[in-house]
């Protein structure tokens, strides 16, 4: 065992492999920064290239790409209010206000640092605890997944800046839109209006691009007068201050932990993890009012979490041969092509290759720090381009990105539809963030509910038979009560003087 760990390390540390890891990270950054181009897509396209490579080389490069893309998504999120990947959507909330205030460099630096720590944490978890944590995965069946989805939905309440009603409205719309497509249990299409393009449901990334990016482009055009430059001038340092790092460390560790656990559970990924981490960062913060207006904690949390998901999602992949996310499913495909069948023997019989992959993830995170610093500087120059050009570039990227998802124009039309709707939401003061949560968790919640009811022969008490689910439900109830006047009243009674 010890031996295989070292074999993996020496496999990674060759000149070719390091060079390819750097290349993979850079490519990942680039793909991540483009809205609509996802890590999964890039992995699938690069996969055939690795067939002729040595497994160590091929896998290290793919792992580096995955790691790079997880950070890359935040660049466009912070600079352009356009999440490059679904998991960077939460980063928009505080990242973009920071860049508007002229702190784009700081926001990107924090994001890079948080990504690095989160990624490294998950790499270490992968290296040390994969077999132990892997077993945890099997504890999560439909019943537990339903509880997670319910808990996730409670985040909506805390995300709605301003009116709670408009937040709930937005969340409900997300849930509604997520019901479009084939019903899992009956196999019949719902709300598709006979259009087979809608049979597989609305591609979540299409909605995300539309809701965040198009309104932003329209706002930029509206505000562009003459050749005026963007508000954000990058004069600040990229490298965060030591005091800031010290202050953020607990937040980053917590978010990294959330990322690893969320990555572990099949069916949830970087998108879910970043919202969970954001919500917890806000819950633990002393001053909650700064969230959404440019708090560095609101950037660090989702970024640490979505990079930690990489290692987290690889744990069940490696320990059990069960992919934790769609990206790891493709990595698993890469192993199969090398003649390695997915299963629990990955860590034993094929240990040399598997440990190479694990070390590849760790080395890629270190590479990320270096490549990220250089590349991000370059990206920051975007902010010196006049708004009207930036707006056109955003719209072009959105069209390319939504087309690339299924190679079809239907998605482009759908994306533009969501864009106009998002613009209207912006105008009406309704935040699109809860809608995104609804879209992410709606299918998980519905599917797992239906499966649980089938397993429980239609008896709803099945949800109380799982201790994990019961605990998660209890947290969800607490989380809802916390936001009601009742809770404030109880707190006031218990601790006179601290009433909010």
């Amino acid at each position: 065992m010890e031996n295989l760990v070292l074999v993996g390390l020496t496999n990674v540390l060759t000149f070719t492999n390091i060079a390819l890891i750097l290349g993979g990270t850079l490519l990942g950054l680039f793909v991540g920064a483009m809205p609509g181009l996802s890590a999964t897509m890039a992995l699938a396209l690069l996969l055939p290239l690795t067939f002729s490579m040595d497994p160590a080389t091929g896998l290290s490069m793919l792992a580096a790409l995955y790691v790079g893309a997880s950070y890359g998504g935040s660049i466009a999120a912070i600079l352009l209010r356009t999440p490059g990947t679904p998991s960077a959507a939460a980063t928009v909330l505080d990242g973009y206000p920071l860049s508007q205030q002229g702190h784009a460099g700081k926001a990107l630096g924090i994001s890079l640092f948080a990504s690095f720590v989160g990624g490294l944490m998950s790499g270490i978890a992968l290296l040390t605890a994969a077999p132990l944590l892997g077993v945890l995965v099997l504890k999560f069946g439909p019943i537990e997944l339903f509880a997670i989805a319910v808990l996730g939905i409670t985040i909506i309440g805390s995300l709605s800046q301003g009116s709670v009603i408009s937040g709930l409205l937005s969340g409900a719309l997300g849930l509604l839109v997520s019901t479009v497509g084939m019903d899992l249990i009956t196999g019949t299409p719902r709300m598709t209006f006979g259009n087979i393009n809608l049979f597989s449901g609305i591609e979540f990334t299409v909605a995300l691009i539309g809701l965040f990016s198009i309104p932003q482009a329209l706002v930029l055009i509206e505000n562009a007068k003459g050749s005026q430059k963007t508000a954000s001038k990058i004069t600040d340092r990229l490298i965060p201050k030591l005091s800031e790092i010290r202050q953020l460390m607990p937040n980053i560790f917590r978010s990294g932990g959330i990322g690893i656990i969320t990555g572990l559970i099949p069916g949830t990924g970087g998108d879910t993890a970043s919202w969970f981490a954001y919500n917890e960062a806000k819950r633990f913060a002393k001053d909650k009012s700064r969230f959404g207006k440019g708090d560095i904690a609101g950037v660090a949390a989702p970024e640490a979490a979505n990079n930690a998901v990489v290692g987290g999602a690889l744990i069940p992949t490696i320990a059990l041969g069960i992919p934790g996310s769609s990206s790891t499913a493709i990595l698993l495909g890469a192993l199969m092509v090398q003649g390695i069948l997915p299963g629990p023997n990955l860590l034993t019989d094929y240990g040399d290759v598997t440990y190479t992959l694990i070390w590849g993830v760790i080395v890629a995170n270190i590479a990320l720090l270096g490549v990220g610093l250089m590349f991000t500087r370059l990206c920051v120059s975007v902010t010196r381009v006049p708004d009207s050009f930036v707006a056109c570039a955003i719209i072009t990227l959105c069209v390319i990105g939504s087309f690339a998802i299924n190679n079809s124009f239907f998605e482009v039309g759908l994306m533009l539809g969501f864009g106009l709707f998002g613009y209207w939401m912006n105008r009406a003061g309704v935040s699109p963030a809860p809608m995104v949560i609804g879209l992410i968790l709606g299918p998980v919640m519905e599917t797992s509910y239906q499966q649980s009811m089938l397993i429980g022969q239609g008896n709803p008490t099945i949800f109380l038979t799982s201790p994990i689910a019961v605990v998660l439900f209890a947290i969800a109830i607490f989380s809802i009560l916390q936001a009601t006047p009742f809770f404030r009243w109880v707190r006031g009674v218990l601790r006179p003087g601290t009433q909010a």
């Binding site: 999964t40 069946g141 397993i455």
Partner: protein, 323 residues
């Protein structure tokens, strides 16, 4: 390590063999392959397996076009309705999905009459697996329990309309038993649920669960093949127990209806040649893909049989499922 070397060797020799046996493809030097699923999935795996070999024997370049959506329905509608039938466009066709798509949804309106079946390449046979600590040691135990508690044993499948869903119903019809069917989003989640003991059994496909069977985490009870499988000699087939269910998930290639006879013959000949290609066989085995090469009319017959079978089944269960 050993396997890796074999793979590298086979790839190398495949590349070197390019000088030999060049047959020009009569319909051109480029073939577009429509894939109904995302890059990196099972269809793509088939493309990566076969196309390098076909490229050599037909002397053509393959261009993969991924058109995911409606469980392949979008790509197959495009193939049947909107593709030139001159032999320059073909598609990877997955059965039984190819037929169940339009049997179950009236909005999907292509049919196999609008296609030219070229060849089936791989078939992943159906299999019943139970968790390692399951009380059911044999398929007899399992069926006996189902008889005792009708409709209570929970059985996972890969989704309504998939091969596992239909094979569960075929078994129910053949044995008179009934199970509580729990659909998942694909074979993987169904197997995971069985691994975690969340369901009593998963009706799955061999290729997806073989690793877990080897490690002892899942116990195979029966396979839905005509004969016992080489890698699992101790696992009985249902046919042996006089339950006439042979089912699996297959992938092959089809062209639009009415392609030139010469192009059809060229393509069929290329797939026929794969039957005797040892490198091809070895590569497939390494990637755990179970070959079942049926070309031309044989493949057409296979599709027609499935279509007939599944139309009858769906007619019977439709009202119950759609409730």
């Amino acid at each position: 390590m050993q396997q890796r070397r074999i793979f590298a060797a086979s790839l190398l020799s495949a590349l070197m063999a390019s000088g030999a046996a060049h047959a020009e493809y009569s319909a051109g030097d480029e073939i577009k392959v429509l894939q109904g699923f995302k890059a990196g999935g099972g269809s793509d795996a088939l493309a990566q397996l076969t196309q390098p070999f076909l490229r050599e024997s037909l002397d053509v370049e393959f261009i993969n076009e991924y058109l995911p959506g409606a469980t392949g329905g979008i790509a197959w509608t495009r193939l049947a309705k909107q593709s030139p039938n001159d032999g320059t466009v073909i598609s990877i066709t997955n059965t039984p999905m190819l037929m169940t798509n339009y049997i179950m949804n009236e909005e999907i309106n292509y049919s196999i009459e609008e296609l030219t079946p070229i060849a089936n390449v791989v078939t992943d046979p159906g299999i019943i697996v139970v968790p390692k600590d399951s009380p059911y040691q044999t398929v007899e135990d399992f069926f006996a329990a189902a008889e005792e508690r009708p409709g209570e044993l929970t059985v996972g499948n890969s989704g309504v309309g998939g091969d596992d869903f239909f094979s569960t119903i075929m078994i129910e019809k053949a044995t008179g038993l009934s199970f509580q069917k729990v659909p998942f989003q694909g074979d993987g989640p169904s197997a995971t649920a069985a691994l975690g003991g969340k369901i009593d059994a998963s009706f799955n496909n061999l290729g997806n669960v073989y690793g877990h069977i080897q490690s002892g985490d899942l116990r195979p009870l029966a396979v839905f093949a005509q004969e016992r499988i080489g890698v699992l000699p101790d696992v009985p087939t249902l046919v042996e127990m006089d339950i006439d269910v042979v089912a699996g998930s297959s992938r092959g290639y089809s062209a639009p209806a009415g392609i030139p006879d010469e192009a059809r013959a060229d393509l069929i000949a290329a797939f026929e040649a794969l039957k005797d290609n040892e490198e091809f066989q070895a590569t497939a085995q390494e990637r755990a893909m179970n070959l079942e090469i049926l070309t031309g009319d044989e493949y057409g017959q296979m599709m027609e049989n499935m279509e007939g079978q599944f139309e009858v089944i769906w007619d019977e269960v439709k009202d119950e499922v759609e409730g």
